[in-house]
C-alpha cells in the first residue's frame, strides 16, 4: 500500500478532531495448492490489505479498521474511531510518542527476496506430497490434508509525528498427513515445514515424519495409570508454553489476570530454566525489527535461572507498573494496543543428552485439547496425548488413548532436567533443548 494513502488517513483523522493518530497495516499475498487422488484439488490465490487506525482525543483512545481505502470508507474509519473514543475512559498514560525522522525498514535479504515460485513448481510439490507418501505403505489412505503455499507479508506502521516503519517477509510452507488404516485400527499424523526460500522446501521430511509417527503410533495402547516423567516433542513443548503464555504479559498483570503478577524477581521455576524472547533471531520466523508502537525491538530476558525477570511491556504498561519499556508492544489492524512475544529461546543445561535420557519417560508427539483442557489462571491442565514410552533414550512402545494432567506452575518447578541440543519447532518460533517434567499424572489403563 502506498505510504501517501496512509498519510492521508492520518491527515483526515487530525482534521476530524483527533489529537494523535497512528496506523498499522497488514498486507499479504498467497498462493496455496492442495492435491487429492493425484490431481490438484484446490488452488487458492489471495491478496489482502487491512488498515487499523488508533486515535487519541482528550486523553481517550478509540480504534477501528477497514479493508478498503476509498475516500468514503476512510471517513467512516476515522468517524468510528473517534466515536469509540467518546465512550472510553480518560487514560493519560496511553500516548503516541515515537518520533523518528528516517523510515525504519526491517526487510532483509534473509527474510525476503523478489523471486517468486512458479505455480507449476508448487503443483509438482503438492502432487509429490501425496504420491511419495502413498508409496511407503499399502495401509496408507489418500492423505486427507496436504498442501504447499507461498506467503508474502508486509507490515507498516506510521504515526502523526511522521514515524514510518516497514517490513516485508516471505515464507513457503508445506504439510502432509499420513493416515494409516488397517481396517480395525487407524492412526494419523500431520507434519509441516516452513522455510523462507522456495529451494529450501523440505517436503521429504514432511513425508518421512508424518509416516514415521502415523505408523509408529498405529498399535499404540494406553499405559497403566500413574505418574510418569513427560518429555514433549519440540512442537508440543512450544504449544505447552504458549497455552500459558499470558504469564509474561504486563497487560494481563495490570488486569489482574496474570498468576505471575506479583512474582517478579522471585523463583517461579527450577533454577535450570532460562527463557529469552529474541525478535532479531534471523532463523526465527517471528523475526521483527519494530514493535506495534514503532519502537526498535531487542532481546527480552523473561526467566533467568528460574527467576522471573520481566514481563512483556509496551509504553502504557511500562508507565503503569513503573518498569522500563522493553518494546514488546503488539498491535494488529483489528486489535488494540497489547503486549506479546516473538521467538522464544530456552537455554541448554546439559553438556550432552546422555544423562537426560536415563530411565523411563513418556514422549508426547501429538495431543488433543491442550488449549481447551487448560486453565491458565489456575495452571491446571488435562489433555489427551499420544507418543512413546522411552527407556534410556530408546522408544520401547507406542502409547495412545491416555490423558496427561497436572499444574503448569508446579510443573515449572518440578523440571528434573533440561538437555543440550537445541531443537526448533516446525514453525521456527520456539527453540529449546528437551525438557523433562517430573511425575505428571497419566490416566490410561
Amino acid at each position: 500500500m502506498e505510504m501517501s494513502q496512509l498519510e492521508n488517513i492520518i491527515e483526515v483523522a487530525l482534521k476530524s478532531g483527533a489529537d494523535q493518530a497512528d496506523i498499522v497495516v497488514d498486507s499479504g499475498e498467497s498462493l496455496q495448492v492442495k492435491a487429492e487422488d493425484q490431481k490438484i484439488s484446490s488452488y487458492e490465490v489471495s491478496s489482502t490489505n487491512i488498515v487499523g487506525l488508533r486515535v487519541i482525543k482528550d486523553g481517550k483512545v478509540g480504534s477501528s479498521y477497514c479493508e478498503t481505502t476509498d475516500p468514503e470508507t476512510i471517513q467512516i474509519l476515522v468517524d468510528q474511531a473517534l466515536e469509540n473514543a467518546k465512550y472510553s475512559k480518560v487514560e493519560e498514560l496511553e500516548k503516541i510518542e515515537v518520533l523518528r525522522s528516517e523510515t525504519l525498514d526491517g526487510t532483509k535479504s534473509f527474510n525476503y527476496d523478489e523471486s517468486r515460485a512458479r505455480p507449476e513448481e508448487l503443483i509438482e510439490i503438492a502432487l509429490k506430497l501425496e504420491s511419495e507418501l502413498m508409496k511407503k505403505d499399502k495401509s496408507l489412505k489418500t492423505p486427507p490434508y496436504n498442501g504447499v503455499g507461498e506467503y508474502i507479508d508486509e507490515r507498516l506502521y506510521l504515526n502523526h509525528l511522521g514515524t514510518k516503519c516497514v517490513e516485508r517477509s516471505k515464507a513457503y510452507s508445506c504439510y502432509t498427513t499420513a493416515l494409516v488404516d488397517t481396517g480395525d485400527k487407524q492412526s494419523m499424523h500431520v507434519q509441516s515445514s516452513v522455510v523462507r526460500k522456495f529451494d529450501q522446501i523440505d517436503y521429504q521430511s514432511c513425508i518421512e515424519n508424518s509416516y514415521l509417527h502415523a505408523n509408529g503410533l498405529l498399535l499404540g495402547e494406553p499405559i497403566k495409570t500413574g505418574k510418569y516423567d513427560i518429555v514433549f516433542s519440540p512442537d508440543k513443548l512450544a504449544q505447552f508454553f504458549s497455552v500459558f503464555g499470558a504469564v509474561f504479559s504486563a497487560k494481563a498483570a495490570i488486569n489482574g489476570m496474570n498468576p505471575f503478577k506479583d512474582k517478579l524477581s522471585t523463583q517461579v521455576a527450577t533454577p535450570m530454566l532460562s527463557i529469552t524472547d529474541a525478535p532479531l533471531l534471523e532463523k526465527g520466523f517471528s523475526y521483527s525489527i519494530f514493535d506495534g508502537e514503532g519502537n526498535i525491538m531487542s532481546d527480552t530476558e523473561l526467566i533467568k535461572n528460574g527467576e522471573l525477570k520481566n514481563f512483556y511491556h509496551n509504553s502504557y504498561t511500562a508507565k503503569k507498573l513503573g518498569h522500563d519499556n522493553n518494546f514488546n508492544a503488539t498491535r494488529g489492524p483489528k486489535s488494540t494496543l497489547g503486549v506479546g512475544g516473538t521467538n522464544k529461546m530456552i537455554a541448554s543445561v546439559e553438556k550432552d543428552d546422555s544423562s537426560f535420557e536415563k530411565g523411563r519417560y513418556f514422549e508426547i508427539i501429538s495431543d488433543q485439547g491442550m488449549y481447551s483442557g487448560a486453565d491458565y489462571i489456575s495452571g491446571n491442565f488435562s489433555f489427551a496425548a499420544s507418543g512413546y514410552l522411552v527407556e534410556d533414550g530408546v522408544r520401547i512402545s507406542p502409547v495412545k488413548g491416555v490423558t496427561v494432567s497436572g499444574n503448569f506452575y508446579e510443573a515449572l518447578k518440578e523440571i528434573s532436567n533440561i538437555g543440550s541440543e537445541v531443537h526448533a519447532n516446525t514453525s521456527a518460533t520456539f527453540f529449546s533443548p528437551k525438557i523433562r517434567f517430573k511425575g505428571l499424572t497419566v490416566a490410561g489403563n
Binding site: V45, S88, T142, G369, S372, I377
Partner: protein, 462 residues
C-alpha cells in the same frame, strides 16, 4: 454490493476459460466490540471487512481466490490466475442471473445498523454483570464482560443463475469471573449469543449471568482434583452438546466423508449409536446462534436428521460434498468470510430429548462424574478421537452428586462414545459457541439433554 453486470462478465469469463461452475461471494461485515474490566470501559473497537471470493470448479477440482478490490479488472485477474492451469475450451454457458429474495426468518430489530440503542445503554448492561459477579464474594478478584455485535451482508452470484443477498445480525454477551483465595485461582465463564440484534439481551438477565459465572469460579476454587481412569459420566444439557459436536458432528460433514477421512464415511443406514440416540442439525430455528436463512452457497438451509434411533440417516452436505459423494445438499455450505471457500459445516446440532430426568440418570451411578458444564474440545475426524474439558464437574457417589472437581477432561472416540450413551434426559437445551474447521471459525450452537455415557476415559490429577 457488486454490480450485477460486472458479476455476469466475470462469470462469463470463467466459463469461457472452461470452468464448469463459477461462484462470486461478496461480503461486507461490520463489527463492534465493547468490553469492561476493572468495573469500567476497557475497549471499544469497530471495523469493516469487505472482500470478494471467486470459486471455480473444474470437474471436482476447486479453485478459490479472494481480494479486497471490487474492480472488474481485479476480479478478472483473479479468475485468470485461478484458471491458468486448467484453461480449456468452454463447455457450457452461464444461466442468466435471476435475483432470489430470501425469506427472512431471523429478524433483528436492534441490529448494528440501528442506532436507536446507545452505546451507553450497552455499557450499563455490562456493568450490571460486573456488579452482580463481584457481589457474590470478596474472593472474586476480577470480572470482565463483553459484547460483540456483527452485521454480515452477503451477496452470491453463480453460473447456474443464482443471485441472492442476505443480512445476518449477530449479538453475543461474554462474562468471565476470577476467584482467588490467596493460594489458588479459578475461573467461571459463559457467553450466550443469538442471530439477533441487541434485543436478544432482553432474554439474558445480566445480574443472573454475573452471579452464575462467579458461582462457577467459586465452586472450582475449593474443588478436589478430578480422579483419573475409566468410569461412567453424566454430561448435562446445553454446552454438554459439545460432546456430540466434536465426537460425531465433524465426522458427519462431507468435508471429511468425501476424503474417507471419517469413521462414518461408509456407514449410511447402519446402527452407529445406541438406540437411545437421535441427533439433528437444524439451521432453521428462529434467531438461534447457528441459524442461517441461506447457506454461504446460496441454498436455503434446512433441518437435517443425522441419526434416528441410533441409525445414521444423513450427512451434512455442501455443493462439492454432493458432487464427490452423491448425497443431496443439505444447505450446510458455510464459511467464516470471503477468505474461505465454503465447506460442509454444522449449524445448530443437538441430541434430541429422551425420557429421563437428570435425577433418574444420576441415581443409576455408584461411582462416576457429573459434568454440569463443558468447556472446549477438539476432534480428529479421520480417527474419531476427541477430547474435551469439563468447566464445572462433580463426583457422583452412590447415586448422588457429591463434591465439586477441577481439571476433568474426557477423551474417547466418536464411534465408541455413541454406542455408550445409554440414557438420554428430557431437559434439552442449546448453547452458543464458535466452531473452527477448514472454512474458518463460524457461529454454531451445540445442545443436548443430560446424557449418561456408561464408560469413558476421564483425565485428572488425582
Amino acid at each position: 454490493m457488486l454490480d450485477k453486470t460486472i458479476a455476469s462478465e466475470v462469470i462469463d469469463y470463467a466459463l469461457m476459460l472452461g470452468a464448469d461452475f463459477c461462484e462470486i461471494f461478496v461480503e461486507k461485515h461490520n463489527s463492534k466490540n465493547l468490553s469492561i474490566l476493572n468495573s469500567s470501559v476497557h475497549e471499544i473497537k469497530s471495523g469493516i471487512d469487505f472482500g470478494i471470493g471467486i470459486r471455480l470448479i473444474y470437474g471436482t477440482k476447486v479453485l478459490y481466490g479472494y481480494t479486497n478490490i471490487a474492480h472488474k479488472d481485479e476480479l478478472l485477474r483473479i479468475t485468470r490466475a485461478l484458471a491458468a492451469q486448467d484453461k480449456r475450451d468452454a463447455l457450457i454457458t452461464a444461466t442468466p442471473l435471476n435475483f432470489m429474495k430470501v425469506v427472512e426468518k431471523h429478524q433483528a430489530l436492534q441490529g448494528l445498523s440501528n442506532t436507536a440503542v446507545q452505546t451507553e445503554e450497552k455499557i450499563q448492561y455490562l456493568l450490571k454483570i460486573d456488579k452482580a459477579a463481584r457481589a457474590q464474594s470478596e474472593q472474586i478478584s476480577q470480572v470482565s464482560a463483553g459484547l460483540l455485535q456483527r452485521l454480515q451482508n452477503i451477496e452470491i452470484f453463480n453460473s447456474e443463475g443464482l443471485h441472492v443477498t442476505d443480512e445476518r445480525n449477530y449479538s453475543r454477551v461474554m462474562a468471565n469471573a476470577i476467584a482467588t483465595n490467596g493460594t489458588e485461582q479459578s475461573t467461571g465463564y459463559d457467553a450466550p449469543g443469538a442471530l439477533s440484534g441487541w434485543e436478544f439481551t432482553n432474554s439474558i438477565n445480566p445480574t443472573q449471568l454475573g452471579e452464575a459465572v462467579s458461582k462457577q469460579a467459586l465452586v472450582k476454587l475449593t474443588a478436589d482434583d478430578c480422579p483419573a481412569g475409566k468410569m461412567p459420566v453424566v454430561i448435562d444439557n446445553g454446552f454438554g452438546g459439545v460432546i456430540f459436536h466434536e465426537a460425531c458432528g465433524h465426522s458427519l460433514e462431507t468435508t471429511s466423508v468425501q476424503k474417507k477421512a471419517s469413521v462414518f464415511w461408509d456407514k449410511m443406514g447402519e446402527q452407529i449409536a445406541h438406540s437411545a440416540v437421535s441427533a439433528v442439525d437444524d439451521g432453521t430455528i428462529n434467531n438461534y446462534w447457528g441459524s442461517i436463512n441461506i447457506d454461504d452457497e446460496g441454498m436455503p438451509t434446512q433441518k437435517t436428521q443425522l441419526i434416528k434411533d441410533g441409525k445414521l440417516t444423513s450427512f451434512l452436505v455442501d455443493k462439492v460434498g454432493a458432487m464427490r459423494t452423491g448425497y443431496e445438499r443439505t444447505g450446510s455450505g458455510r464459511r467464516q468470510s470471503y477468505k474461505y471457500a465454503p465447506a460442509s459445516r454444522m449449524r445448530n446440532t443437538y441430541i434430541e430429548a429422551g425420557n429421563y430426568s437428570l435425577d433418574e440418570i444420576i441415581q443409576t451411578i455408584d461411582n462416576g462424574i457429573y459434568c454440569k458444564k463443558m468447556g472446549g474440545g477438539s476432534v480428529t475426524p479421520a480417527t474419531g478421537e476427541f477430547n474435551f474439558s469439563a468447566q464445572e464437574s462433580y463426583i457422583i457417589k452412590n447415586g448422588k452428586i457429591d463434591r465439586p472437581l477441577k481439571g476433568a477432561t474426557l477423551i474417547g472416540t466418536g464411534a465408541g462414545v455413541l454406542q455408550k450413551i445409554s440414557m438420554v434426559g428430557k431437559n434439552l437445551e442449546m448453547a452458543a459457541g464458535m466452531c473452527g474447521s477448514v472454512s474458518g471459525s463460524i457461529p454454531t450452537s451445540v445442545g443436548q439433554p443430560a446424557v449418561k455415557v456408561d464408560e469413558i476415559l476421564v483425565g485428572g490429577k488425582a
